[in-house]
């Protein structure tokens, strides 16, 4: 049902992300040649970078590795709500005054698209790993733990950005919303460098998407490969943190949509 509701162009747009997965997979395969297992491939590709982040080039890799994918996703989905709102809001809301319900429907569609973006990239990474590196799974339990944790953390964290840009685009226009969200993403990515020797790192939004920084028993076997972790920084903590963050954004979005003037919302861009 939901798939029918989403415009097909967004599915095609998300396919651009596959290109990034090819690039990441192709460049990472040589690093896992000694340990040819998918767990290592996924940890190094989407798990984040080693702690402590002291080297300047490690930081630049962090920016490239994690932010490029997110900024592309924000760009691809920035118009999702504003397109609909600016073209047919008058027709929708003169027939139904449940703007909040419309907003929540849009949010579920967006979350589905964000998750799909990463699922497609993960699928490509599996194919690249198999074809280029002849990779296999060493421990199925650890493999699924890594895959599902990475997917949940990345999808939820990226969804926060996508939700922000869409909510702001209803208020200030897509180009300003995009600028603001990119600024937010860049500032969030700089903060771990400024607080790198402090326990405050685990409370930063950006840290929630870094799987290898989490304190997990399932990752203990891979610590020599992915570096140390932040003590007591669990995946459950990050999931709760992101759920609260998304909840706050949803409340702000519903409040904003309920109070928005639909007659003056025709396309400005």
């Amino acid at each position: 049902m939901r798939i029918h509701r989403i415009h097909k162009t967004y599915f095609f747009k998300l396919l651009i992300g596959i290109f990034l997965a090819f690039v990441v997979g192709g460049s990472v395969i040589p690093f896992v040649s000694e340990k040819p297992y998918y767990e290592y491939l996924f940890l190094i590709s989407y798990g984040g970078i080693r702690l402590p982040v002291e080297d300047g080039w490690a930081y630049i890799n962090l920016l490239l590795d994690s932010l490029v994918s997110q900024i592309l996703l924000i760009f691809l989905l920035a118009n999702y709500m504003s397109d609909d709102f600016s073209t047919c809001s008058v027709y929708i809301f003169t027939r139904s005054n449940r703007k909040g319900a419309w907003f929540l429907h849009k949010c579920t569609d967006l979350f589905f698209l964000v998750a799909l973006y990463y699922i497609l990239q993960f699928a490509v990474l599996i194919v690249v790993g198999r074809v280029l590196g002849r990779l296999t799974i060493s421990d199925p339990a650890a493999f699924w733990h890594i895959i599902l944790s990475e997917l949940a953390l990345l999808a939820m964290f990226s969804f926060c950005y996508v939700l922000t840009v869409n909510v702001l685009s209803l208020k200030m226009g897509t180009h300003y919303a995009y600028l603001f969200t990119v600024l937010l993403a860049v500032v969030f990515s700089v903060l771990p460098m400024l607080f790198q020797n402090s326990t405050a790192v685990k409370f930063l939004p950006f840290s929630q998407s870094m799987l290898v920084w989490h304190d997990s028993k399932k990752l203990a076997l891979y610590r020599d490969f992915v570096g140390s972790c932040i003590p007591h920084f669990t995946i459950l903590f990050s999931l709760l943190y992101l759920i609260v963050l998304i909840g706050i954004l949803l409340l702000i979005g519903i409040h904003l949509v309920n109070n928005i003037e639909i007659m003056g919302s025709e396309r400005k861009d």
Partner: protein, 276 residues
Amino acid sequence: MEFTRLIRTEVHSLLKRREFLIVMTINLVWMIVPFLMDCMKYYQTEITYIPPANELWVGFHNHMGEAYYLFLLPLLPALVYADTHYLNLKTGMYKNIYSRCRKSTYILAKGVVILVSGFIIVFLPLLLNQLLCFLIAPLHSTRNSLGGWPAYTSYPTYTLLFESLFLRKPYLHNFLYMAMAGLLGSMSALLSYAVSFLGGQSRLIVVATPMIIYVVWNFTAAFLLGDEYSLYAYLFGGGVADLMPSYFFFCMALCLMVCLAIIFMKGVFKKDELHN
């Protein structure tokens, strides 16, 4: 005469534009914050331990500077004025303009102003940061003057793009890097302007296309080809080994040619409904 008059009009509307003020403010804040952080870091530090002002500059080796060069540099210049042609087309304002002046002159005048605005919006904040660094850091650090070079440090200078210039004229070296960043800003704004001639897209695409191309190219080059093929590596004063200056300027020239080709083919030489 018409060209000069149009340039004056465009500059006037650029300076009055809200986007110009917002982007300039963001840029200035982004350059002042690292300065304030350096102020806190070096407060009450003995003068001999403070690096020279040229190395304290945000474009030399600074995390906020790196984030700026990686993501914001191509986005901000494109937001300043490059989307005005798209807005003119979208609102129908172009009919009023084209009936009062020659279309080709207008397009070229706007292109020149966009090119210059892209340069200024990047260059001036970087220059401001360097000037601010003079307030808290010595021109030549005594810590680093033992080797006889004004800018000598333990920094591995062999990785620098213009090593000789860095060693002899460190501030001219930084000035050159500011100009290179400004050049990339100009190209980003011009590319955004060129995209607005392709028609049918949203304002977001016009504004964000240079950034997406830049970011994806840097990503691809860094992971598959090597850091020396990523454009951002040419913008940090800190340097990366094996850089080729000709590569950077070739990319800029290629971008300029592509933009001019689009502007001439889709703008200057294309007949519109007013042409008779």
